[in-house]
């Protein structure tokens, strides 16, 4: 598993940035992550590794900022850290957690570090403080009791939400964890990047 960190380090200089792609495109292909996650336990890393090949794939999303949100060595299992992403606006509050068990889209040597938006995609209930270590879940939402499975891309366990909890896409560079994108529309917004 250590070689994965290494790969990330090696690939790091090739990571896309706004400067490289002034058209406002991001190489972080969400589709790629979705399709690849799980089976080969290839997650974000795959697209990072894809390098030049990925550059040929038409980008799917507008630019998400690349924001450092924490460091791997500081994370403790089942102790979520809060951060804001993709901006400082409404419903940007999110959480970064080391689950201690492999998860879809997880990074790190154990592929167990994931991040999610904190707002229920049913009616916007605030899920902060509802993390459960025994079930690796967020919820129940204080409004209408929806619960989400953080090992499975935030899929609804039981409840009323109209979609999974938006997953914040992560990259690892050395020990630093970066947020680089969001899967799924954040509650309250009509567009993740425009509010």
């Amino acid at each position: 598993m250590t070689n994965q960190i290494k790969r990330a380090e090696i690939d790091a200089p090739r990571l896309p940035s706004k400067k490289d792609h002034p058209a406002g495109k991001c190489l972080m292909s969400r589709r790629k992550m979705l399709f690849s996650s799980g089976l080969a336990t290839a997650t974000v890393m795959v697209s990072v590794n894809a390098g030049a090949a990925a550059a040929k794939v038409p980008a799917m999303v507008t630019t998400y900022p690349r924001k450092k949100i924490g460091s791997l060595s500081a994370l403790k299992v089942d102790q979520p850290l809060g951060f804001k992403y993709p901006d400082e606006g409404a419903y940007a509050q999110s959480m970064l957690v080391k689950l201690g068990t492999e998860a879809g889209g997880g990074i790190g040597p154990h592929r167990d570090v994931v991040a999610f938006n904190y707002f229920c995609t049913h009616q916007g209930g605030d899920l902060s403080g509802t993390y459960k270590g025994d079930t690796k879940s967020l919820g129940a939402c204080p409004l209408h009791l929806s619960t989400y499975d953080l090992t499975r891309h935030g899929i609804l366990i039981s409840g009323q939400a109209y979609q999974s909890l938006p997953q914040v896409l992560l990259e690892l560079q050395g020990d630093d964890i970066y947020a680089v994108g969001v899967f799924g529309l954040i509650f309250g917004r009509y567009d993740n990047l425009q509010g």
């Binding site: 969400r30 589709r31 979705l34 399709f35 996650s37 799980g38 089976l39 999303v61 606006g89 409404a90 419903y91 492999e102 998860a103 879809g104 889209g105 707002f119 995609t121 049913h122 009616q123 916007g124 209930g125 459960k132 079930t135 690796k136 879940s137 919820g139 129940a140 409004l143 209408h144 009791l145 619960t147 499975d149 090992t151 499975r152 891309h153 899929i155 609804l156 366990i157 039981s158 409840g159 009323q160 939400a161 109209y162 979609q163 999974s164 938006p166 969001v182 899967f183 799924g184 529309l185 954040i186 509650f187 309250g188 917004r189 009509y190 567009d191 993740n192 990047l193 425009q194 509010g195």
Partner: protein, 890 residues
Amino acid sequence: MSTPYYIPETNVPLPPKGADVITTACDYCIVACGYKVYRWPVAGGRDGGPKAEQNAFGANFPVEALGPWVAPNQHNIVLHEGVPNHVVIIPDKDTKFVNTDGDSSLRGGCIAQKCYNPQKPTRDRLKSPMMRIYGILQPVPWEFALDVAAEVGSYVRTKHGANAYGVKTYSYQYIENTYAITKYALRHVNTANFTFHDTPSDVSSTPGFRDAGFDNFGPAYEDWMNAETLLICGTDPYETKTILWTQWIMKGIQNGQKCIMMNPRRTAGVAYAEKNGGLWLDVNLGTDLLVVNAIARIIVENGWQDAEWIKNWVNNKWGSSSGFGQGTRNTPWQWRTTWGKFQTDGYEDWKKWLLSQDEFKPEYAAKIAGIDVKKIYTAAEWMAKPKGGKHPKTSIMIEKGFFWSNNTGNTQAISALGSIVGAGGRPGQVIGRAGGHQRGGQRGGKYPRNKSPMKLPGRRRRALDTDTWTMSGHTRFAHVIGTTWIQSMCGSQQLAKRFEELTVGNPHQVRSYDKQDVIDTLKQRADSGGMVVINQDIYLVDPIGNRYADIIFPAATWGEETFMRANGERRLRLYNKFYDAPGEAKPDWWIIAELAKRMGFDGFDWKNSNDVAEESARFSRGSRKDFNMIKVAAHREGKTLHQKLGEFGTNGIQGPVFMEDDGTLVGTKRLHDTTRKLSETGPAAGNVFNKKLTHFNSQTGRCNLQKSPWSLFSDYWEWMQPKGNELWCTSGRTNERWQSGFDDRRRPYVVQRWPDNYVEMHPDDAKARGIESGDMLMVYSDRVPSLKETTLGVESSDYSFSGQMKAGNVELTRAAVTGVAMVTRHIKKGIIFMDFLHTSQPANALEGRIVDWISGNYNYKMGVAEVKKIGISPYKKTFRSMSFAPRDII
């Protein structure tokens, strides 16, 4: 079929100011939340913007919690009058009733994805009539399909009798359609071979309620909130009628309501109730009657019963014996009561009986039910023990887990418990069903009971059991409307085998281009003992349509035609048409009318759905959803019935509806409302004051207190009880999936969540079998009992399960269904639970095809099965689909 991958969107178009706004209600569960459809043309790109003045909501984005947010699953593109239009469909944020707070479940919340869109998984909607020619369903014109169906149907009816023409139909898919279907089937075809989607014969789902005098849907939603103690049996409303829970019961619990849930699964609602001071009665399957009567016993022994209520509202000896005004003696009620098993002389007589039954001693009941006996005492105390001289306000809610385990016994027992604690008839003190589907039934004909050849003790006729009738080869023409039939009924795999023999296994198959040849071939099929199948539906259903049907009629549905329907508190709403039905699909009332006209029946010349609704109005008089006066008011004002009901928007109006002297319409908050004051001068003009408005449904208007002997059911229960390595096997709905999944199978997100049927299993049971979450299981049984013929017998005891066994009328068959293991703490040990209606993995195949010999219903929720691991599902090691986390996280 839909892709298993769901790729979430990260933006959504907003409706612009000036977008069309159309009201409707959800198509799915009983609650029927109010919705608004926002519609605007795709051409021109005039989407709304994020500022309040730029969008149809008048809201600034990002919106606040509970605000008019649009999830991408709430947007779709449809054709409206031939022009592509965006639609955004979200719960009505302004509605005053039902889904107050603009709340919605996941099911209704994503209803925009129901709409036909050729670029989405709904692309396989049925768009054209089809006929099986050379073994393949091929598109044909309406005229061709209708002519053949009518001619063959008419022939079968004339040659083999009306009972050879079977009609198996939904009971709820809008008033206009059910009226047309029942007018056709019952009044004109006049067949006793008729029943609804959820029962083998046309009988009451809750015989005990009927006998006691309770309407299934008397209560108002606010009553469930306002009860101080609420006993919920056989359902978790959070899972299956979500908004009834989140907007009503949950608020009651927050106000201190003590909520008791009797159910072997600890899903979110149960967990929430427990966490907030409630109680979980985790009973074994089929043992509810014992627990209910044990609770009653404790109440009676302590003198906690509501004596004043019993004195005023429970029948004494004279009342119990007075014939009850149930019509002729040949009624279900009569034969259930006259042979002494149920009827009492009133409270003292019932009490004497109750105390004489040793199996109702709390310790015994607790042992058989597998629960802590203290819970029975606690429940009794909460439901009845007076505080400061006042009885608690107690309500009782039941649903299928309860009344489809021991149909007659459980409903008799709960009715008696309800009566002695004063539930029923007062605000916050009610008894009723929670409900499953919505209430859209309106009969256009009377069931011809006297034509049924099936009888019961005392030679009383019972409604024809359409499954045994068909198994016996008597159905020569099966007209199936909007139901899977096979997977919905018990012993599904035996039924499927027989359907196959009678249809595609028959030598007379259509292999011709000539219409007359086609007709002749199908007539020969019927004459040779085979069966012709016609199927009306919105999708091609497997196997009834896909494999067995000769003719398919494509139906138009929700949003594609304007319809009326009521919810679980009898609230009537107009479901507006807002887009074009796909292809040539037509509403069921139209299909029926075209068949009826071809068969020479009169009275089917309707021009539109409002015509049908207006004709049906007078048949609703006196019923729980009496809407006749809405029509009267409409005509006074020069409007149609649909127009007038539409004026009530998502608020609707609760039936029965009355007209005041000044012409205004008033609804009925609750039935059996003993606090309601009706006009002293009686009903004026067309108004109908039915007894059930202020009293109960009996001759005297008081409740009948009835016995509920365990012995009428215990022989089946003991025979069925798991033997050897078997587990109890039951099934039900899960929150995220509605009915057969006809829409949900076409929603990528729900497919991702529930790609296959699943088998919930307690960790101890799983460990003993070497099973882990994600393993692929075979769930099977060598002893699925089924009746060979209709119940056979002369004396009443012959009709019991043991009597039928003795008579050699019970056959043991096999069944096998696969599913994905879900090892979870939220299910009681010794029980497995599956989704009840995955069409490809039908859990009902494992349930005994034995009708409750008193009521005629199946006890769907009480089977047994063995379970073994046959491999590993794709979901065990990947993270995309399913979740194995428990459903009780609070």
